[in-house]
């Protein structure tokens, strides 16, 4: 694997190798000095064309814990404001000598385009509505740690704006590759126009699905889309698709709740549920660093020991 652009770049055994490696890095992050020299001398640059807190910090932390040098490029303070093209920007950065570039961009396929322009390993940290593969990796890692039997047969409902969600696209691929049964739950306006070839079932009715899931994965409602006539109001969305405390009570006793963040508390998830015992949300964030260490190590490591 030269780049990580899509979960499609990994088959089941490739996914499992990264998850196994992530477990070893979780062990590293629990040490007194949570740092290994595996990527000493390597340079990892983050190139973020969209706002991000958790993903950018998570990648930078991962790189630092592997002893890589890091650079951060955010559009707000850059020559992009002066009209520099994406191609010129990445070629300029590469000229400084880098080994990997972590890219977030508002357009689908931007990381794919960059692989045509420079030689560094490219990691997709979210491209438009296309994919967010490291989010999916940390999601399956988090689930696998809670389910020693693995994801085979695990019933997962992904609820919310699947149409515009890069997280959902990567999660569907990763969950189903590991044997989970995925149901998408949303009004038709928030589902992809075509689900041809998607190994999923669809429901418009969350209440119908609730009693029969092992995992409820809630997607963020992008508040800026309210003007697009996708649903009548946030109030109606919450009443039909929000995970309220009342709905959470109807989940099976051992069901788990996930969310990629950032959350709109009170919209897709109530504060009570987000902070409740079924919630894996904090674990997802914690596992993100280890997964990204595993990805960086897989792409840049010499194949030597982790630590």
């Amino acid at each position: 694997m030269r780049h990580l652009l899509s979960i499609d770049d990994l088959d089941r055994s490739g996914l499992e190798q990264i998850l196994d490696l992530s477990e070893r890095f979780i062990e590293v992050t629990h040490r007194d000095i949570p740092k290994v020299p595996a990527l000493r001398g390597k340079t990892v640059v983050s190139l973020f064309y969209e706002e991000s807190t958790r993903t950018r910090l998570s990648f930078e932390t991962a790189a630092k814990r592997l002893s890589a040098d890091t650079m951060t490029f955010t559009v707000g303070s850059s020559s992009v404001k002066k009209g520099e093209s994406l191609r010129d920007t990445v070629q300029t950065i590469e000229a400084m000598g880098i080994d990997a570039m972590v890219v977030r961009h508002g357009s689908a396929g931007a990381p794919n385009r960059i692989t045509e322009w420079i030689d560094a390993a490219i990691i997709n940290a979210g491209d438009g509505c296309h994919e967010h593969p490291t989010q999916a990796l940390l999601d399956v890692l988090t689930l696998r740690r809670r389910r020693p039997s693995g994801l085979d047969g695990c019933r997962i409902a992904i609820v919310g704006d699947v149409r515009h969600s890069r997280v959902a696209r990567s999660d569907v691929l990763a969950f189903t590759a590991l044997g989970a049964e995925v149901t998408l739950v949303a009004p038709p306006t928030l589902l992809p126009e075509s689900l041809e070839g998607w190994p999923v079932t669809v429901s418009y009715d969350l209440d119908d699905v609730l009693p029969n899931v092992d995992v409820l994965y809630l997607l963020r409602i992008q508040l800026e889309r309210q003007g697009e006539a996708l649903f009548p109001s946030l109030r109606e969305y919450t009443s039909r698709y929000g995970l309220t405390a009342a709905r959470a009570a109807r989940l099976p006793a051992d069901a788990l709740v996930m969310h990629p963040g950032p959350m709109n508390r009170g919209v897709e998830i109530s504060a009570e549920v987000a902070d409740g015992p079924a919630s894996l949300i904090a674990e997802q964030v914690a596992n993100g660093v280890a997964v990204r260490m595993a990805v960086l190590y897989t792409l840049l490591g010499s194949g030597g020991p982790v630590a």
Binding site: S107, N112, R113, D127, G128, H130, P192, E193, S194, E196
Partner: protein, 441 residues
């Protein structure tokens, strides 16, 4: 036959002549820009001509006519100019092209239209200006259609933009009835359905997370404009038809006697939305590349006569403009130098179209739609006719090399594709503007 050859006369020797009247083996003697004589083995050293062009093994046909090219002048001469676009056209076998109005400024003004006609008159092929339907192509107020008609405009369109308001389209069609021979050409994509979309809406757009443009954006406007053509009695031409539903609508309208015509672009019968999975903006075009089922329907529409013309929608963009992400890149692809070969390779070779039907779609049928028959385009090749001709080697196999195209731009989606059939010579009013696949000016 003249006793002494006219200065500058030439003979096209040994080809198979194909035009609207049929096929036969014939030499063509040309002088003073016109066909003088057509016949088998015309006598004399050069058949009585100064010069001889070999057409052995070739097809001699009326020059091709493209209803749909973007030559980017004025406003974006880095991407193309009338001169370079006309040269690319001549190399593709075209002797007349209709220049679309989405220039900067747009072709909604007499001075701009006059300048396009003037530049076109000295180019390697006849460049005919279209005219806008609405001022600024913004879909609201009518452009000075009568004034532009007086300058020679017969093809009115806001191409690149759809005349979306039904009432405006209705008034424009009514008004055009006072301009004999004029036709209104619609870019049929309802902006409220297509806005924000970058590729065909379907399985691939859903997988890739790229916002889509549904086929219904096209078919709703075509259904509406068929109703408006019926209401007003004015003809409507549909640009770059891309969906199966639209082909069926046009077929049905024609069966009901409504005067509508339709063109398709070569990329819409050769490429599908699956190409967009590469995220390569060379495949970004409006209307977008559709599905295999749409391609099959377009081929049926070509074969049964529903579709009237093959038009390129030649849309040059500089490498810098296309060197962006798929969603950010501008729309459009080159077409002039590949259209004939794609037609021969994808439609004639598999037996979907006869050669004469293919040439009809590329020459005399579009010529009639745009009022270019009267200007000497589209044949037939007969004594007295303007010598606008192309000579095609139908068996020549070649591979598309973007760097060798005559267009100023390089944005072909067909780079590396192996095609059969290529233009050997093109004659514009008797002057060989292309000889042995090389432009002479």
């Amino acid at each position: 036959m003249p006793d002494t050859p006219a200065a500058g006369s030439l003979i096209i020797r040994g080809g198979r002549l194909v035009d609207a009247t049929g096929e036969r083996t014939a030499d063509v003697l040309i002088a003073d820009g016109r066909v003088v004589e057509v016949g088998e083995q015309l006598s004399g050293p050069h058949g009585g001509a100064d010069r001889e062009l070999d057409a052995g093994g070739c097809i001699v046909a009326p020059g091709l006519v493209d209803l749909h090219v973007h030559l980017r002048e004025p406003g974006d001469e880095e991407a193309e100019t009338i001169e370079t676009g006309a040269r690319a056209a001549a190399l593709g076998g075209f002797t007349a092209v209709v220049a679309m109005p989405n220039t900067t400024p747009p072709l909604d003004d007499a001075a701009v239209v006059e300048s396009v006609f003037a530049r076109g008159a000295t180019s390697s092929c006849d460049v005919v200006s279209s005219g806008c339907i609405t001022k600024g192509r913004d879909g609201h107020e009518l452009a000075p259609m009568g004034e532009l008609y007086g300058l020679g405009v017969r093809f009115f369109t806001d191409d690149g933009a759809c005349v979306a308001e039904s009432g405006v389209m209705r008034r424009a069609l009514e008004y055009a009835r006072s301009l004999p021979g004029a036709v209104l050409a619609q870019h049929a994509e309802d902006p409220s359905l297509a806005a924000g979309g970058h590729m065909h809406e379907g399985a691939w757009s859903s997988r890739l997370g790229i916002p889509g443009r549904p086929g219904a954006a096209e078919s709703t406007i075509i259904a509406r404009d068929i109703a408006l053509a019926e209401l007003t009695g004015a003809p409507v031409h549909f640009l770059h038809v891309s969906t199966a539903v639209a082909v069926d609508l046009v077929r049905d309208a024609k069966a009901r006697g409504i005067v509508v015509t339709a063109e398709v672009a070569p990329h819409h019968f050769t490429l599908t939305d699956a190409c967009c999975a590469s995220f390569d903006p060379a495949f970004k075009v409006h209307p977008p590349l559709r599905t295999d089922a749409d391609i099959e329907a377009i081929k049926r529409g070509l074969a049964d006569g529903t579709i009237d013309a093959i038009a390129t929608d030649h849309a040059p963009h500089t490498p810098e403009a296309k060197d962006r992400t798929f969603e950010e890149a501008p729309t459009g692809m080159l077409g002039l130098e590949t259209a004939l070969a794609l037609t021969l390779t994808e439609l004639v070779e598999p037996g979907i179209l006869s050669l004469v039907d293919a040439l009809a779609l590329l020459s005399w049928r579009p010529a009639a739609i745009a009022g270019l028959t009267e200007r000497g385009h589209g044949g037939p090749v007969a004594p007295g006719a303007a010598a606008n001709l192309c000579v095609i080697d139908p068996a020549l196999a070649w591979e598309v090399d973007a760097d060798k195209l005559a267009s100023r731009s390089r944005n072909t989606p067909f780079a590396g594709r192996k095609l059969t059939g290529r233009v050997r010579h093109t004659l514009l009013r008797g002057e060989p503007v292309v000889i042995d696949a090389e432009a002479t000016r």
